[in-house]
């Protein structure tokens, strides 16, 4: 261990601020949380600092996977018609005892009702206080999906749905569905300070908030009453460090034990460093080039396929992803259930592509390729990707012009049905369900919104919509596999890549697993 951490341990002992030999893990996080109420926000930074650390949900994703596991609910039952989901709650879940709140009872059904009603009932004081701005809840259509939530008894809650929806359970494992304390909420309302719920959070999670200095540091202590048992770490610190280069310097200097989002160009050097371990895993994401399928000549699947075959995706993986990615053949990543392994990707074959364009009567085609102005987890450099595509397309006689806009403007214009050209974009999964990719990004309802190909193909849409209503996973897999075959045949996108996610850690960190959904979770993590 380097000097700094050694000095830190000695100073801790001298100060008596924490127990002797207290284990403190420092995580150099990439940004400041917007607040500590995960239902109000949509960014991973806030979910890391609040949702995963301070709170729990009825069900949760098993660490490192997209499989569901019991959490606050120890088990659940789905009715035969899929319209009712009943949760049996654990009776040993305690809320955090903090300087500002001392719970008088363990978690019960009232807290579950409170946590959802504040996001969906217009007459709820917290709904009014936050102007109903529960963006994730709204985006996942939860308000339309939940008809009512019934308290069966103190430890049983029943969700009555407006339609059968298989991904509903996975939605409940997302951070916006974290369970809050009704008792604390009522106390704040009585004191006339509901805004404190977002600054002084009370959850049931593995860590509880000790202090937050804006833009600098967040301190947590292990929750002594955590229902899965006290954490091996005594303290957790988020040292907010926005610059990736500086995060790496801090990791090297031993000022932090873990850092997210390294620069891809630093990975090789990190691997050479004996004090650092680099974990890696395929991300639950996809990068794609979406044609506007409502405009000529891109309304012809043969033209789209020809263009796909003219682009050398292997070269993009090598030059842009620097090996930290793999060629995508399906619109969902290979780590996701329902992935159709049997699909064959369109080969890179410029000659055949040229022939297909000639057959379709396309001559001297001019088109735009839209390159995002920002780096995203699924796309390290859209401009460079567009340049490589431009060069490939010129070989088959297509004159491609690269265009870009400010990020907000890009997203807005890319959604327009009248948009010209093909757009580079991507997606990172919310809940590990194929529906979250196939229906959201390619369903007819997404036209003018997240469906940037403006593609509405009934046979595909019917399969995806039907799969959503089935509770039997094998039946859903069958539908999704068929849908992917149709997708490949119709080619509304050129599926470009699935990127790899890296997580550099100090060697002394044990028990950390990369979250395929992009979160950073320190439950169960220890220091040697």
């Amino acid at each position: 261990m380097k000097k700094t951490l050694l000095a830190a341990s000695i100073a801790t002992m001298m100060l008596g601020a924490a127990p002797v030999m207290a284990k403190t893990l420092v995580y150099c996080s990439e940004g400041s949380p917007e607040g500590f109420d995960p239902s109000l926000y949509t960014t991973g930074t806030t979910f890391d600092a609040a949702g995963k650390t301070i709170y729990n949900r009825l069900v949760e994703f098993k660490t490192g996977t997209t499989e569901l596991r019991p959490a606050i609910a120890e088990r659940w039952e789905v009715s035969d018609d899929g319209m009712e989901v009943t949760f049996l709650l654990r009776d040993d879940v305690e809320f955090h005892t903090t300087d500002y709140f001392t719970p008088s009872r363990p978690l019960n059904a009232d807290d579950v009702l409170y946590s959802f009603r504040r996001q969906m009932m217009e007459d709820n004081p917290y709904y009014q206080h936050n102007n109903g701005n529960y963006e994730y809840f709204t985006a996942m259509s939860m308000g339309e999906l939940i008809d009512e939530i019934v308290k069966v008894d103190d430890h049983t809650v029943k969700f009555v749905l407006t339609r059968p929806e298989a991904p509903f359970l996975a939605n409940l494992a997302m951070d916006f569905a974290s369970i809050h304390s009704k008792e604390y909420g009522d106390q704040l309302l009585e004191a006339g300070t509901p805004e404190r719920a977002n600054r002084q959070p009370v959850g049931t999670g593995p860590f509880q908030l000790i202090g937050y200095q804006e833009d600098a540091v967040i301190r947590y202590a292990a929750n002594p009453d955590y229902f899965r048992g006290k954490q091996p770490l005594d303290n957790l610190v988020f040292a907010i460090t926005p610059d990736a280069q500086v995060r790496y310097q801090k990791l090297q200097a031993g000022e932090c034990h873990a850092m997210p989002y390294p620069n891809p160009s630093d990975i090789d050097e990190m691997r050479q460093d004996d004090t650092i371990q680099v974990l890696e895993e395929p991300g639950l994401n996809v990068a794609y080039l979406a044609y506007n399928t409502q405009q000529e000549p891109f309304d012809d699947p043969q033209v789209r396929k020809a263009l796909n075959m003219a682009i050398n995706k292997e070269a993009i993986i090598e030059a842009v992803f620097q090996g930290a990615g793999e060629v995508a053949k399906n619109p969902i990543p290979p780590t996701m259930w329902g992935y159709n392994e049997a699909i064959e990707d369109d080969p890179y074959d410029p000659e055949r592509a040229q022939q297909m364009l000639d057959d379709a009567g396309i001559e001297d085609l001019e088109m735009s390729i839209w390159a995002m102005p920002v780096q995203r987890p699924y796309m390290p450099n859209a401009r460079r990707t567009a340049e490589l595509m431009q060069a490939d397309l010129s070989r088959v006689g297509v004159d491609a012009e690269i265009v870009t806009y400010e990020w907000g403007e890009y997203l807005k214009r890319a959604s327009s049905v009248d948009r010209e050209g093909a757009v580079i974009l991507g997606w990172t999964g919310d809940n590990g369900d194929p529906d979250n990719f196939l229906a959201v990004l390619l369903g007819c309802d997404g036209i003018g919104g997240a469906n940037r190909a403006q593609w509405c193909h009934e046979p595909f849409n019917e399969l995806v919509m039907e799969a959503k209503t089935l509770s039997d996973q094998a039946e859903r897999v069958e539908r999704y596999e068929q849908a992917q075959a149709i997708f490949k045949e119709q080619a509304p996108w050129n599926t470009l890549a699935h990127s790899v996610v890296f997580m550099p850690l100090r060697q002394e960190v044990t028990g950390y697993t990369i979250d395929p959904l992009g979160g950073h979770n320190f439950e169960g993590v220890d220091l040697k």
Binding site: K3, T4, A8, A11, T12, M14, L15, A17, T24, S32, E34, G35, L40, T42, N130, N131, G132, N133, E135, T138, A139, E195, N198, R199, I210, G211, Q213, E214, D215, A216, V217, R219, V237, A239, I240, T241, P242, D243, Q245, V246, Q249, K250, Q252, A253, E255, Y405, E406, W407, G408, E409, L411, K412, S415, L425, G426, W427, G446, G448, G449, A450
Partner: protein, 334 residues
């Protein structure tokens, strides 16, 4: 004197109105929509967009939005951040002490190094020392802050391990804010280890931020000193047989300082501008980093409120410099 102050204050009014117009329009002139940025790749339905637009008042004419902003500003309300949902004033005040502490330290460094360097260069005019001081100060003045900061981190933090890479104090210490200046709050708490830590974390960002003002002060001191050293009273002092040290420090420097002090006052604006980059490199939790985040998220209330407050501080400091000048030199008042 009171009339002088009154006139100076009255002159600030049109400047302040100009600042509010610039602050209001600047962020809106940038392409990008805060609602769409919040929605990200997922997009947002037209209905939901309209609801949010109405809630935030963005559906009203720009001129009406401006007058809302001014009306609230006059009541001391800078609005609520679109991102954190917290009042802009409290967001600013929570971070301002960090910027103030860094700027004061940077200024201290600039004066302690820049002033003697300028005097030395002036008294050794044309020598190797003069050329070295001027060369170094020109390099310091031209140094891109971002590159300079990273260079110092690599050398002093990563390679030599002398200073921490970034942050404001070791995570071991949690000091309840009294003044918000950690070097003072740690002393008030009687915690010497924490004080040392706060000072340790201040060194590198302080030097980086203080480099440009240091160069400016050194050059200004040199030229003022050269001017004063050629004056008759300096020649007289030398002729009377006073020691060289006494001539330089008492007779020449005191008079040369008048212009140097003005330059130091003007550095406040430079420091606040430089703080934006320095704070980003060193993860320093001040208003510079906060403003960068607010701009990238198109957080209109935070950007316009932050700009108005920063401009207010710069104007206030300049007013104080003007008034101090008026006190020192009564001719200015007329």
């Amino acid at each position: 004197m009171i009339k002088f102050i009154f006139i100076k204050l009255a002159q600030l009014i049109p400047t302040f109105i100009g600042v509010t117009i610039v602050a209001f329009s600047f962020i809106r002139l940038l392409p990008g929509d805060p609602i769409l940025l919040m929605a990200g790749e997922r997009g947002i339905s037209a209905e939901r967009y309209a609801v949010l637009e109405a809630q935030l008042g963005f559906d009203r004419p720009l001129i009406a939005q401006y007058f809302d902003f001014i009306g609230n500003l006059l009541q001391g309300d800078l609005g609520t951040s679109l991102v954190t949902h917290a009042p802009v004033m409290s967001e600013f005040m929570n971070r301002f002490p960090a910027t103030l502490e860094l700027s004061l330290f940077a200024l201290l460094f600039a004066v302690i190094v820049g002033l003697p360097a300028g005097v030395l260069a002036a008294t050794r005019r044309g020598t190797f020392i003069d050329h070295s001081v001027m060369g170094v100060s020109l390099t310091g003045y031209s140094m891109p802050i971002f590159w300079w900061g990273l260079l110092l981190i690599m050398l002093f933090s990563s390679t030599l391990g002398w200073t921490p890479v970034s942050g404001r104090i070791s995570y071991l210490y949690f000091i309840e804010p009294v003044t918000g200046l950690l070097t003072i709050d740690t002393l008030l708490a009687g915690n010497w280890d924490a004080f040392r830590s706060a000072l340790h974390y201040l060194i590198l960002p302080g030097i980086v931020l203080g480099t440009i003002p240091m160069a400016v002060i050194a050059r200004q001191t040199r030229s003022s000193m050269l001017e004063v050293l050629g004056e008759d009273y300096v020649r007289t002092a030398r002729a009377k047989g006073l020691s060289s040290f006494r001539v330089i420090m008492v007779h020449a420097l005191r008079n040369a300082l008048i212009t140097v002090v003005t330059v130091i006052g003007l550095q406040v604006g430079v420091l606040l501008a430089g703080a934006i980059l320095t704070e980003t490199i060193f993860s320093w939790p001040g208003i510079g980093k906060w403003m960068i985040d607010a701009i990238s998220r198109r957080d209109y209330p935070a950007v316009q409120g932050g700009l108005v407050l920063i401009a207010f501080i710069v104007m206030l400091v300049n007013l104080l410099v003007d008034v101090a000048y008026g006190v020192i030199n009564p001719r200015i008042r007329h």
